[in-house]
């Protein structure tokens, strides 16, 4: 395969919200930018998302920066970095304004103000989430518009382009990045690109759990694996978010998201296979709480045949509030209901029967260790010059639980910061050799290799094991076994068959991705082993949850030498006790309200609910009000 050489100021990897906004930010500083995307341009989690975006103060001015950042930190059990949460709160409005500039249009009220969902998503203390008519498609069209614009700087993009590895230079104990190698499958060449800075915005690891995931196929953890190979430190890799409510059947729908805690209505409950309620007042719970309840029941043998539980929304359609509830769901969760109808039938989509659901891998809270501008850190917490991360690739914002609708905002907030930082960081080149030659040699030598097995075999076996052992429920014994089996699979990978074809070489792609997946499995399992107690999304069946009041810490890892992963713990600043108590009380209050509501006389209950639903839907159609 031919190796083509190129040079840019900045290379950005990934074309979701984070990559696109980073590339545009660097271009706006006058840089020449190359944006690489292994999926067709802008085809990403950002595009297939629900398109709901956190914007502070979008509902009420009372929503302060402190309230938002403290929501994020406390709901993430304080293991995230305070600086990241603050940056998020500072920039959420300007990030959304930037998306508006690219053509994103929310629903507007009569005064021309953007409408919110009308209720706080699970774990938020304010209603501050803005939804869009076509969900993530609206968001993606805006990203596409940003890349279409003609501007001062220079922005090229390349799709079907797998970023393989970074070129690093080590001098005076300092690592600096000088570009990297790309497989451009559409042109059938390797592209060796030199650059002063690289932004990794290609996060996500859902495919490690396929088919138990609702993310894009390309979520093979490339960002984490590539960064770690270049000497970066990763944080909180044990914290994988499993959304609690995904379809279990048929195979084509398995893992697809069917609901959120907030879409359970005021009266939704989770039941185990025997019909016993295992969690109520869902609406006021976080994703982690719901997923843990299901995982616990399944672990104790009270799950369904498909390894799930039931999300029962039937109580919501008992009285006069039934139609308003249906209306809100249709307008606010239409795309989820489509999946419900297709996988469970139309009576399920009318909420007449409980839905069989199970958790599904959705988001990686962990990621590359950075400062709040996306500057990546090495093992010693020193900056790696010229390496930045943004979006899902970046770790340290969410801690142990990500609040709904924060990720699409995060992508733009940290994408723009990283893109700017990449543009202004002066090139640092000591002139000493980089590992460029050996990187190119490694990938070239793989091509045309004969072997018995293929990358896909290893990936499929790994996915099964990971779902079982580092999925929504974990224990010491299983995880230790998994750890051992990973190294065997890594050896197997070196003997895999790789064809020599140039254009879209699937065997090559599969081996490259299998390697990244295996390394990510190592990060996750070893981090998870070292966090001995359940916390947030990390649910251990062999220990009790971390007791409150203990000092929060983050689990971090990096390659000490080849094949040798080192785990360290870093203490984190705890949120003020007062703030923690206040938030817990607010959530407790919400739960109590929902409990009370359940026991009110039907007529009164309906009255309250109709009012609530009307607020959420921004008014109800006449026939609904009439019925009420």
């Amino acid at each position: 395969m031919q190796v083509v050489e190129k040079q840019y100021d900045v290379v950005v990897v990934g074309s979701g919200g984070a990559g696109t906004s980073a590339a545009v930010a660097a271009r706006d500083q006058g840089c020449s930018v190359l944006l690489v995307s292994k999926d067709p341009i802008n085809c990403s989690d950002s595009k297939i998302s629900e398109g709901i975006v956190t914007v502070r103060g979008s509902e009420t001015d009372k929503d302060t920066e402190t309230e938002l950042s403290s929501n994020i930190r406390i709901q993430g059990d304080d293991i995230g970095r305070a600086e990241h949460a603050r940056a998020f709160a500072e920039d959420s409005q300007s990030a959304y304004e930037w998306m508006r500039q690219q053509g994103l249009k929310p629903h507007f009220d009569e005064s021309g103000k953007a409408k919110t969902l009308g209720m706080a998503m699970g774990g938020h203390t304010q209603s501050r989430s803005i939804d869009h008519a076509n969900g993530g498609l609206d968001y993606a069209h805006a990203l596409r518009q940003a890349l279409t614009e003609k501007q001062n700087g220079h922005l090229d993009y390349m799709e079907d382009a797998w970023f393989l590895d970074l070129y690093v230079q080590e001098s005076e104990q300092r690592i600096s990045v000088q570009g990297g190698l790309i497989y451009h499958a559409a042109d059938g060449v390797l592209v060796s690109v030199k650059a002063q800075a690289v932004v990794l915005a290609c996060g996500g690891i859902g495919t490690l759990y396929f088919p138990h995931t609702d993310t894009m196929r390309g979520n093979t953890g490339d960002a984490y694996a590539i960064a770690a190979r270049a000497g970066a430190k990763l944080v909180d890799m044990e914290q994988i978010q499993f959304i609690p409510f995904a379809a279990v059947n048929p195979p084509s729908h398995q893992g697809l998201i069917v609901g959120e805690p907030v879409s359970a209505g005021a009266l939704g409950v989770i039941r185990d296979a025997t019909g016993k309620v295992i969690l109520s007042e869902i609406m006021a719970r976080t994703r982690a709480e719901c997923a843990a309840a299901i995982a616990q029941a399944v672990e104790e043998g009270r799950g369904t045949d498909h390894g799930g539980c039931y999300l029962d929304l039937t109580d919501n359609i008992q009285g006069a509030s039934a139609e308003p509830f249906r209306y809100v769901m249709k307008t606010k969760a239409g795309s989820l209901l489509k999946v419900v109808r297709a996988s469970m039938g139309s009576s399920a989509a009318r909420f007449e029967v409980p839905w069989e659901v199970k958790p599904s891998a959705h988001y990686c809270m962990g990621g590359i260790a950075t400062d709040e501008n996306g500057q990546v850190f090495d093992a010693n917490s020193q900056p790696i010059h010229g390496l930045l991360a943004a979006g899902q690739a970046l770790g340290g914002l969410h801690g142990s639980n990500r609040l709904g609708s924060t990720s699409l905002a995060e992508a733009i907030i940290f994408g723009r910061r990283a893109g700017y930082q990449a543009a202004v960081s002066a090139p640092l080149n000591s002139g000493s050799d980089t590992n460029e030659k050996s990187v190119i040699e490694y990938y070239l030598s793989m091509l045309g290799r004969d072997g018995e097995s293929y990358g896909i075999d290893i990936t499929r076996a790994l996915q099964k094991a990971c779902w079982k052992f580092i999925g929504p429920a974990r224990n010491e014994k299983d995880m230790s076994e998994l750890k051992d089996s990973i190294s065997q699979r890594e050896q197997q990978l070196d003997d895999c068959h790789v064809s020599s074809s140039k254009y879209f070489n699937q065997s090559f792609i599969d081996v490259v991705e299998a390697r990244n997946l295996l390394q990510c499995a190592t990060f996750i399992v070893q981090s998870a082993l070292s966090r001995k107690r359940s916390l947030g999304a990390h649910f251990r069946t062999d220990s009790r949850p971390d007791n409150l009041g203990k000092r929060p810490f983050s689990v971090q890892c990096f390659w000490e030498s080849e094949g040798q992963l080192k785990i360290v713990h870093e203490d984190r600043e705890a949120s003020p006790v007062g703030a923690r108590i206040k938030l817990r009380m607010q959530q407790g209050g919400k739960i109590l309200m929902l409990k009370l509501l359940r026991h009110l006389p039907l007529g009164l209950r309906d009255k309250i609910l109709i009012k609530k639903y009307a607020a959420a839907a921004g008014g109800l159609p006449k026939e609904n009000v009439h019925e009420a």
Partner: protein, 236 residues
Amino acid sequence: MKLKLMVIREDKVELESFEYQQQVIGEKPVVLDVLLQYQENQNKDYAYRYGCRNGLCGVCTVEVNGKPKLACKCRVGEGDTITPLSTLPVLSDLVVSRQAVSKQLVEKLPVPQGTGQDNNADNTDYQRLNRCIECYACLHECPMHEKNDLTNRQADYLYGNPYSLLRIQRNLVDANATEEVKEKSLKLARDLGIEACRDCKGCRCGVGINLKKDVIRPLLFRLPNGEPDKSIEKEY
């Protein structure tokens, strides 16, 4: 269930038979179920695209019995034949090169600047067009697109297609777009060969956007001697 799948490597082209094994009783598999199983059991380095499995990312389009379909949504039946899109150059097996379509409008299509006009406008027309998932199913039998050099994987496309016209029309219904942006957008439509639409039977969208009514006709109307040809009139 027996099916046929096309295998294309370098310059070798073959139709392979495959027997799909049901995974659960009563299963009605979609094309993607077949592709996943075919790769796992019979052709380990089979190249095909998919992303979301949910009809949203738009990357999995293939042809089933000669018609463009989303692999993740289209149910398969006995004897179906699965081939790559015939409207774009093949890279390998079911994977076609999409980049020339994707890049066609870059730095050419003017972009509405600023916000503020849309806050009090009716944005329904705009949002209707945003349903587009960029699956490129609409390129099927488009005479304008067929004028491009479709054999060359690296060629740029001079002529447009329904998708590019949709993006242009999006500007025309964007409350934030100035007259200048609209004029330039229309000029681009002409440069891409929209005249071909005048005597064309019209195009179909994979997710049900009414391309004739919401894209082609309004664009033709805005052009000088804008009346569309009589033949297209009948279609509406």
